[in-house]
Point group: C3
Chain length 365, copies 3
């Protein structure tokens, strides 16, 4: 029975509403354990994508619009290793090939949907939205801590209104914390030592503050309220908008490697130009298995990311009224340097990709 509650995303119908995306790139599609026995359907970069696991547990991502009558394949069910369309029962394997037609006594239409390179790594599912021949697993940014049992993570996924670059800007400029997240406010974000650099296609923003108080929220999580600490934070951005926030603190004089860390992931995958899939996690390597503490941590961070960041970014996005950031001639402050570098890098990558005559085109239809 079809679940009436499972609505698919309304896709943009005019060129004006469509975005331009980097295609030859790994995007976070979901948590690995977000995809169980049930297939899933999502829109990524305005394309319907069906995700499922075969009997071995291998995850697959294929075009989510059935080529027969355009139903969402990801709302279908698994028949062995095959995904059955919920509308007329055509079945597709993990390569996207139609392999069974219940209507014709064995005559299978020679048709297939796109097969997206799809990798399960660091407890995440990574999808390659461009030319499959160019997909290179080694280009997936390192989030080894997410798969390391020494680290226990609290996690979230959210459907966020606003362009995904506004979300990566937000993480790259932690100066917003002092205004958007009172519990996470600290002087370092706005007036401390900050530096920004680009290494190949990766952008880093760093915050470095010796001998100061932590924010109430972080101090509380680390058990370091009211006692001065050295702390350091590095934010790493990789295209399109996959960020690693490496937060560390320790008693004054502690070398960075010996500090307590609260590493976090912030991955933003565009659904459309106006909406974003947000996948986040923050991990610790202490009080492992302490579920009460995990719940506390999860509550603080959900509030910060989903109830504080998301509404203000939604509102900023709406006030941009569909215009490009640069066309609006924004004031640029020191704290924006990371976001600006990321935007320039992404714009360059998109331009290179579009100029590259060898770039594959995924025909959306």
């Amino acid at each position: 029975m079809t679940d009436a509650g499972r609505e698919v995303c309304k896709l943009p119908q005019s060129d004006e509403e469509r975005g331009t995306y980097l295609r030859n790139c790994w995007y976070v599609a979901d948590w690995a354990d977000g995809l169980g026995q049930e297939p899933q359907q999502k829109v990524l970069l305005e394309e319907p994508v069906a995700m499922f696991r075969d009997e071995d547990g291998t995850a697959h991502a294929i075009g989510g619009r059935c080529p027969h009558r355009f139903a969402p394949l990801g709302h279908g069910k698994m028949v062995g290793d095959q995904l059955e369309c919920p509308y007329h029962g055509l079945r597709f394997d993990g390569t996207g090939t139609c392999v069974f037609n219940p209507h014709e006594k064995g005559v299978v239409p020679r048709v297939s949907v796109h097969r997206y390179p799809f990798v399960e790594k660091y407890n995440l599912l990574w999808i390659w939205m461009g030319d499959p021949a160019l997909a290179d697993e080694s280009a997936i940014p390192d989030f080894a801590w997410l798969a390391n049992p020494a680290w226990e993570a609290v996690r979230g996924t959210a459907h966020a209104e606003g362009h995904y670059e506004l979300y990566s800007d937000n993480i790259l400029d932690l100066g917003h914390a002092n205004f958007v997240h009172p519990a996470l406010a600290a002087d370092v974000w706005t007036t401390g030592k900050r530096s920004f650099r680009t290494e190949s296609d990766t952008v880093w923003a760093e915050y470095d503050q010796p001998d100061d108080y932590l924010s109430d929220g972080i101090g509380g999580l680390l058990g370091r309220v009211g006692v001065k600490q050295d702390f350091w934070c590095g934010v790493r951005w990789d295209a399109p908008a996959t960020l690693f926030l490496d937060y560390r603190a320790g008693d004054v004089g502690t070398p960075r490697e010996a500090m307590i860390a609260l590493p976090s992931l912030h991955a933003f995958t565009p659904e459309t130009r106006d909406t974003t899939h947000y996948v986040w996690a923050v991990a610790r390597d202490y009080r492992l298995g302490d579920t009460e503490f995990s719940d506390l941590m999860h509550g603080i961070l959900t509030a910060a990311f989903e109830e504080e960041d998301m509404p203000i970014i939604r509102n900023a996005h709406r006030q941009m009224a569909g215009k490009d950031l640069w066309d609006l001639e924004p004031v640029v402050l020191t704290g924006d340097s990371g976001g600006v570098r990321a935007r320039r890098t992404l714009a360059r990558l998109i331009e290179e990709e579009q100029q590259d005559s060898g770039a594959s085109r995924i025909a959306a239809e």
Copy 2:
């Protein structure tokens, strides 16, 4: 007093969002008993239409946008045989002529709204959306069983998201039942003997299966669970999307005329390109007056048509993103033959109508 809950449909504001419709055609506007003493307002083919009954009980349909200040006439009230605009009280008769002006002491503006040919037949209200001079009551498809007391019908009306042709495709290809409606699944729909034919402007899809088990749902309604039956089903389509589904079953060897029948109506009238008025009924000629059985039947069929069909068609419609079916180059399976014939017939009728210099034009404004 205006009922704040009575909102009118938002009409498309750009050419891109508008559809193309067959105008010289009978459309199902509603159930005859859906129009009582209270006038009604609906949008059909993107046109506001007001429907009301005069003191004799005769049903009328006229343009639903007051030519004075564009309020929905169908939200007004009856004053004798006249429909009074809910905003400033101009009154219109069943010909659409303004016949009373409360503001000018008898000076009535020489203005009228369109009068739609409107026929009450088979317990339904049929509206002609094109040139009134061409309206021919005899062109209304036969649904005599709906008005025959030997048949007791359970009925429904629904506001459905999705293009109306997707809804008629659905009824013409019963192969979807095995995936969308588990309770109605039967082998015949997908692999049984199926045939398709076009007779003048009418399309038929037929399913013929001797000596097999009925679906659980239909078998239950017919009291024929676990016993093999001969069964036959004919689906008749008439433009634009008015379908008669003639379902019959009987003990093996029963001639078709002697089988038990469950005739049904599925009428789809476009509101806009993206939304459809769905009127359905399924009748039986046994257990008449058994309200418990009627309730059971109504529940099974509402679930099938409104909770199973409608969501998947809505989702397919959204995934088509406003594009024409053929532009999306769909895979065509045997079961689509009925829908393809219906689409071709409708496209031809629309083209003929638009080329016919004698075709009337209803000026939308």
Copy 3:
């Protein structure tokens, strides 16, 4: 902490959806006491506007889109006399100048947002949406009674769907009362002595009825049910859509100056082409301080303006499908004379303003 419930208005993204407005004009922004210690954010004429009070209580209105990252300034907080952006903490003074940057240790970007002339008068906040050099406080229409303690007003504000001119048309043609507001129906509105005149840029509609019964609603409020009265009503319109309704009644033979009056304000400020901020008040100079009577009055009038007028105007607006009134060739009745004069005056003022080479342009971005 950001209040997730505070959403900003979605702005039109295409020229097709944008309206044309008179800019050099006073618009009602809100009730004076609607702006307290908390800043407010509204969209007026498709422009985000932030409103706040400084420490002296003086009200200021400045561009509501932060030039840094486009967050709604009016969702920020006051730091002394300065409005702090809720996103990254830039502060702006009442002139719209950025005066503090928390990120750069004192380096303040040389940037400002528009400062709107903003006047507190008659208990209302009036905003000038055009060239500040042309703002002239004396052009604010007279609503002295709103600030006169001899008059006690019941008031409302509503977010209304529909073009603002449809709302001013509605007040200028009280003929609608007999159909939309049964409690306020009286013969004078439709068939009584009505006159219309234009004085400079002000339009008047007058209704004059000696020796007749009042409507049930008004008669009840005035304690004059079942007894004939002389009554008179003048509706004054000033651009863009600010109306004063001067309602008076008295025993037969009472001179107009000695009648009991129920003056009212109806101010309509466009948010977008399709939505309107509606600010209304109705006052009396009797039973002052009688809160039970005030509640009764408030209930009757809220029902009339918000539950009766607003839905029908919303529906008429939707049925106009984004088209200009005149393009739809409306029937014009006597009662429309006031609205037609107001529309012509406003169209002329807009045309003059756009032709005037000296007219300032507020760059929306």
